[in-house]
Symmetry: C2
Subunit: 182 residues, 2 copies
């Protein structure tokens, strides 16, 4: 942020009175511009013993496989966001959404909220952001071609819980891996 | 949003190509400014059979009672945000945080994430945003002086679950009550 979205003047970065963190502050109109984490809501769409993955048609991670998920919009509930993203990316209607994972990713200021869900009917297909959408049995999961660490984590927890048919809500953090030395 | 925070020119509201919702778009530098829900993280701080509430020293709802909670910051996990807010508002250290409520409030684009937590030691007191902080047994809860519907909902679920000592994660939505006819 360079300019104040309220008055158009340049903002500065400073700690406002009574605050403890630097913010973008407009000294012209006194607006403090807070920036906060975003929620990414998505589903594990399930049909019998298979689950649905999407192959990304967009960057980042073009061509890799992901669970349908995306940024929650204003005016939605978390379940509505997860179901909408599943419709947009996989053309799939889901039902029986149950919260399964709350995964904070502090270094990119995102919180993933992943729901287990059943496919409502047999229909699915690639949305605008997907090259391909298909159902996978566990032994077919393309573990070495997953788009994001949070997708791997969600799938690992799911297949670990599956034999016991008990699915607690997992609340975990994904920490940036340390950079390798050159 | 009136001005582009990237280049300072006036933005317009329009549906970008490939999108389905109106956004603030800068036609000068082509930036699309997305606006997304915010996470409010907080705790039910517990000590034996009592829980901690804060009486608000700020608007809105000055003078009414609330659970310690506030906007999650960039770079935090949800638990870190809940513990930080409890320290800021109630000068109380908490431990053993366990996710208890995920409450979407679509009409104000907020998602509350409430954790059960134990007070780590006997210490607590009013932070800058609180007039007063105290522990309440169930029969002492000031039900008619609670600051927000989400505080009531959290406490109702908690005291309903308490006898069975089983605390599932509650995922619910708080819908704006219909306006009364004049």
């Amino acid at each position: 942020m360079i300019f104040c979205s309220n008055c158009g003047q340049q903002v500065i970065e400073k700690v406002p009175a009574g605050d403890s963190r630097p913010r973008h502050v407009c000294e012209s109109c006194q607006t403090i511009h807070y920036q906060n984490p975003k929620i990414v809501a998505g589903c594990i769409p399930i049909q019998e013993d298979r689950l649905l993955l999407c192959r990304r048609a967009i960057e980042p991670r073009f061509g890799l496989w992901t669970l349908p998920a995306g940024f929650m919009e204003n005016g939605e509930s978390t379940e509505q966001a997860a179901a909408r993203e599943t419709m947009e990316e996989a053309c799939a209607e889901v039902k029986d959404l149950t919260l399964y994972g709350v995964f904070s990713i502090p270094h990119i200021s995102q919180v993933y909220m992943m729901f287990r869900a059943n496919l409502a009917n047999g229909h699915f297909g690639p949305g605008a952001e997907s090259l391909e959408v298909r159902l996978f049995e566990e032994h077919e999961i393309p573990w070495d071609q997953l788009a994001f660490p949070v997708v791997r984590l969600t799938l690992e927890r799911y297949f670990s819980d599956l034999p016991g048919r008990t699915f607690p809500v997992h609340v975990e953090n994904i920490i940036r891996p340390p950079r390798r030395m050159p």
